[in-house]
């Protein structure tokens, strides 16, 4: 196990670094970080800017220098705001982690409940309803869902019922000076979390239903029933516990991917997380920020992929990692 994990980690390092280099290179190829100064026709300022960033060096050298600093904890400074990148990234990450944490928690509870119910009462009216809804959820473009949620759940009701405040807020995670876990925070969270999770709830609940159906038709479940174990206990102890194993690995894979998926949600709800940081840096051609962004998200994706595999083998001893 230890050999497996260390080998996987070792071989992920080049993938992460190459990915971040690609990003750095593409941005440097496309954008001129001194463009604003060039527009002002101040030749001295332009050459100062070029000298400071040492743009005459080949891109590989520039990236090598950045990476060398990065392993020492210095991720460079944003070419847009001149702020230190190692301060921007953790702040942005914190907002995104909150979104993803609540999103995953709620999706997991909802998806497991729906999946188990649908499997236990297969072909019931509610099963068909959930199935239909999950097809809708899978086909739903998240950004449109976000707009609909704002219109129908936040500003619409405010207009229709002439409220002072909308029920749910649509900008950021806190209003004004409030912080911490309070009602204000919850009212900010509801819509972004819904937007973020509409697709994963749909796909996880479908997955859980299929797994549960598989498990419930297994021989040991029939044996348990035959010897008179109460139905409830069969479903929870024999069924659910085994059906959860594959779902957990799917969840781990999706959590990694979610760090890329928060882009739409954070843009719509103006949340200053990793997604917003990515979009603004991309439109400004901010190479150091983007390279660091890819370094962080790629590491997280790789880590969660590894976690998925390890989890599977821990929870299901029949699976051997080689």
């Amino acid at each position: 196990m230890l050999t497996y994990v260390s080998r996987r980690l070792l071989y992920s390092v080049p993938v992460v670094i190459v990915a971040s280099f690609l990003m750095f290179w593409m941005v440097r190829e496309t954008y001129d970080p001194c463009a604003r100064l060039r527009a002002s026709r101040d030749a001295a300022a332009v050459s100062r800017c070029e000298e400071r960033l040492r743009l005459d060096d080949p891109v590989v050298t520039q990236y090598g220098r950045w990476l060398g600093d990065a392993v020492r904890g210095d991720l460079g400074e944003s070419s847009r705001t001149h702020e230190a990148v190692e301060e921007m990234i953790p702040r942005a990450l914190w907002s995104s982690v909150q979104l993803i944490f609540w999103g995953v928690l709620i999706s997991a509870v909802v998806a497991i409940a729906l999946g188990v119910y649908s499997a236990v009462r297969q072909y019931s009216v509610l099963d068909y309803t959930f199935t239909g809804l999950s097809f809708l959820g899978l086909a739903m473009p998240p950004f449109w869902f976000g707009l609909l949620a704002i219109e129908l759940l936040a500003v619409g009701p405010k207009r229709w019922f002439d409220l002072d405040q909308p029920l749910f807020y649509i900008v950021g995670l806190h209003s004004g000076d409030s912080s911490g876990f309070d009602l204000d925070y919850l009212r900010h969270l509801v819509l972004p979390v819904m937007t973020l999770t509409v697709q994963i709830v749909a796909s996880w609940s479908r997955f859980q239903r299929a797994e549960m159906l598989d498990v419930m038709s297994a021989d040991y479940v029939r044996t348990a029933r035959a010897k008179g174990v109460p139905r409830r206990q069969v479903i929870l102890r024999h069924g659910l516990r085994n059906a959860l194993v594959p779902l957990l690995t799917v969840m781990a894979l999706d959590i990694g991917a979610l760090f890329g998926g928060v882009i739409v949600t954070e843009t719509i709800f103006s949340i200053p997380g990793m997604g917003s940081l990515f979009v603004t840096s991309l439109s400004d051609g901010d190479a150091p920020v983007l390279a660091a962004w890819v370094l962080v998200t790629a590491s997280l994706i790789v880590a969660f992929n590894l976690l998925a595999d390890v989890l599977y083998s821990v929870l299901d001893p029949r699976v051997r990692l080689t």
């Binding site: 993938v15 990915a19 496309t30 449109w144 707009l147 219109e151």
Partner: protein
């Protein structure tokens, strides 16, 4: 963004048997004889057609897939025949009219310049659908070629393919597309090529898995024993057995491409004005949320939702048609 279950890859290991034996002919005879075409086909070349007839029969049993196919046809005709069907031109302004909510004549309302939203949705569909189809076609073609080579040749080719796939999993597609558009101009062709360049890996992975299991089968061994070249074995013996998964992947690829394109355009990195896609229309309408013109967000969004839903159902129908075992699980 979407979740792929582990099962997706190994859904169709065996595939339909290629040499249509007596069973295929029997299947053809069981067809509803209302359509003379089937009967004629069965009589003309029973052995060659029967496999497809069986597939068609299984596909048409999937009611939702058939309905979806009809809906898709309708959407295509309406969008690409927009010159004939759209009530107004997509650019025709009516400043005196201004923004009006949905009503007879303006079924989805008009924007602040008095442009008819339904007509704009139909014209925008041309680009969205074109991107979706082209990306699916190109990426499936490339992915099939690469996947077949990697799966059959194995070793080094395979390793390279898998590493490249890993790499593209962690580099955000949005960045690649935005930068490519900035460099090569905001052409439809750029968007199509970049998206195809990102999506071919899905098809490649599916085909690779299929080819790896099929190449161990006896009939491949028999072909090799009788002196067939590797190219011939792959093209004539292995690939025809992967048609099912390839078709399903291509179908779902259309949906994925449409959603990705519209997401990018919504974020401002995709199709640029004056050209419009469904994503652009939603970007335009984003500012109306919370105002009395919020009706503008419904049309383009519904267009995407319905198209993607229909494409997914057709994909489901195809999967069931090619893999009868999956039907029992439903």
């Amino acid at each position: 963004m979407s979740t792929r279950t582990p099962r997706d890859d190994d859904g169709l290991v065996e595939g339909p048997p290629r040499d249509a034996g007596p069973s295929g002919v029997i299947g053809a005879e069981l067809l509803p004889s209302a359509t003379g075409e089937f009967e004629a086909a069965a009589h003309a070349a029973p052995v060659a057609r029967s496999q497809w007839a069986l597939l068609r029969r299984r596909f048409f049993r999937h009611k939702l897939a058939v309905v979806s196919l009809g809906v898709l046809a309708l959407i295509f005709v309406a969008c690409f025949g927009a010159d004939l069907f759209a009530p107004y031109s997509n650019t025709q302004q009516d400043l005196l009219l201004g923004p009006v909510s949905p009503r007879v004549g303006h079924w989805l309302g008009t924007d602040e310049l008095g442009r008819d939203q339904l007509s704009r949705v139909l014209y925008a569909g041309q680009i969205s659908l074109k991107v979706g189809l082209a990306v699916a076609l190109i990426s499936t073609f490339v992915g099939t070629a690469v996947g077949a080579i990697a799966g059959y040749a194995g070793r080094a080719t395979d390793q390279v393919l898998m590493r490249v796939t890993d790499l593209f999993l962690v580099v955000p597609a949005l960045a690649i597309l935005a930068l490519a558009l900035d460099r090569f101009g905001n052409e439809d062709t750029t968007i199509i090529l970049v998206l195809a360049g990102l999506f071919w890996m899905y098809a490649a992975r599916v085909v690779r898995g299929q080819v790896m299991s099929i190449k161990e089968k006896e009939f491949v061994e028999a072909a090799r024993a009788s002196g067939a070249s590797s190219t011939r074995i792959v093209v004539r013996h292995v690939l025809p057995n992967t048609v099912g998964p390839i078709l399903v992947t291509a179908t779902l690829g259309v949906a994925l491409a449409i959603v990705t394109e519209s997401t990018l355009s919504f974020l401002g990195f995709g199709v640029q004005p004056p050209e419009t896609s469904w994503g652009n229309l939603l970007k335009d309408a984003e500012g109306t949320v919370g105002t009395s013109q919020a009706y503008l967000i419904y049309g383009p969004g519904l267009a995407i939702l319905i198209t993607v839903l229909a494409v997914n159902f057709v994909g489901d129908g195809l999967r069931d048609a090619f893999d009868p075992r999956s039907e029992r699980r439903r």
